[in-house]
């Protein structure tokens, strides 16, 4: 407040003092604005860098997706190939294996029958030997 009772010199002095104070404050405000601007610029730069990073990540993920698609197609192709091979090549082999198994079984059956025949033949031979001995010695163990 200007005191009207004071001298003009005092008033001017006060005004000048106020102006100095205001200049100082204005300078402080400008400094603050400069700092804010600098900080904003830094933030903007970081934001741009982040944006670039995000774009790179998005690009990488797109590339990954493309690669995964390629791998999926390869895997599908491999499955189709395996299925084709199994139906066209393994099925006849399996049939052959079954046939060989049947032959083996038949051979085993023949072996079992042959063993039985051998046993019966041995028993008959033994009986003939016994009868021969009894006939030769004229005595049977009855």
């Amino acid at each position: 407040m200007i005191d009207h009772t004071c001298d003009q010199g005092d008033v001017l002095g006060e005004i000048r003092a106020d102006i100095r104070v205001m200049k100082v404050e204005q300078k402080n405000v400008y400094d603050g604005i400069d700092r804010l601007c600098k900080a904003t610029e830094e933030n903007m730069r970081e934001a741009r860098q982040l944006t670039i990073s995000v774009q790179e990540v998005i690009g990488d993920s797109r590339e990954f997706r493309t690669r995964i698609g390629t791998v999926e197609r390869d895997v599908q192709f491999a499955f189709d190939e395996i299925r084709r091979v199994s139906t066209e090549e393994v099925a006849p082999l399996r049939k052959k294996i079954d046939e060989i198994g049947a032959i083996k079984t038949q051979l085993a059956v023949n072996n079992i029958i042959l063993t039985g025949v051998k046993l019966i033949a041995s028993a008959v031979a033994l009986a003939l030997v016994g009868i021969g001995i009894a006939a030769v010695y004229g005595r049977a163990p009855l």
């Binding site: 198994g101 083996k104 079984t105 085993a108 059956v109 072996n111 079992i112 029958i113 063993t115 039985g116 046993l119 019966i120 028993a123 008959v124 033994l126 009986a127 030997v129 016994g130 009868i131 001995i133 009894a134 006939a135 010695y137 004229g138 005595r139 049977a140 163990p141 009855l142």
Partner: protein, 135 residues
């Protein structure tokens, strides 16, 4: 006629061998029928036939040994004795043939079962034997 050499006892030994073979085969048949997964009728039939075989051979062995140890050998003539020996051998051959046929049929049956249900019974069909029990 008295027999001086050990050869005279060979017919005894042959009789014993044949009886032993019949007993072993019949016991094996009973064991195989027990472990086989065939029908109950076949099992009962095998048990019945093998059981009668075992009983017949046991009674025959008892009678034969009693006859021999009681020294009644000279009571009958040689012709009668030899003809009875032939009869005994034929009887034993009949029994052993029946037992071996049953054994062969059972082995074949078990082997085919193994081949058909290989994963189920866990046995090798090439063995053609009883294999493992699954239960």
């Amino acid at each position: 006629m008295n027999c001086e050499t050990l050869l005279c006892y060979v017919p005894h030994a042959i009789t014993l061998l044949l009886c032993l073979a019949i007993i072993l085969t019949a016991v094996n048949n009973i064991a195989m029928a027990k472990s086989d997964k065939g029908t109950t009728f076949i099992k009962h039939a095998v048990w019945l036939v093998s059981g009668f075989q075992l009983m017949a051979i046991t009674v025959f062995l008892i009678n034969q040994s009693a006859w021999v140890f009681s020294d009644n050998v000279s009571l009958v003539g040689s012709d009668v004795a030899v003809s009875w020996l032939i009869y005994n051998y034929l009887d034993q051959l009949f029994h052993i043939t029946i037992a071996i046929i049953i054994n062969t049929v059972l082995r074949t049956h078990i082997m085919y079962n193994c081949r058909l249900f290989q994963e189920y019974c866990g046995c090798d069909p090439r063995d053609g034997l009883i294999g493992k029990e699954t239960n």
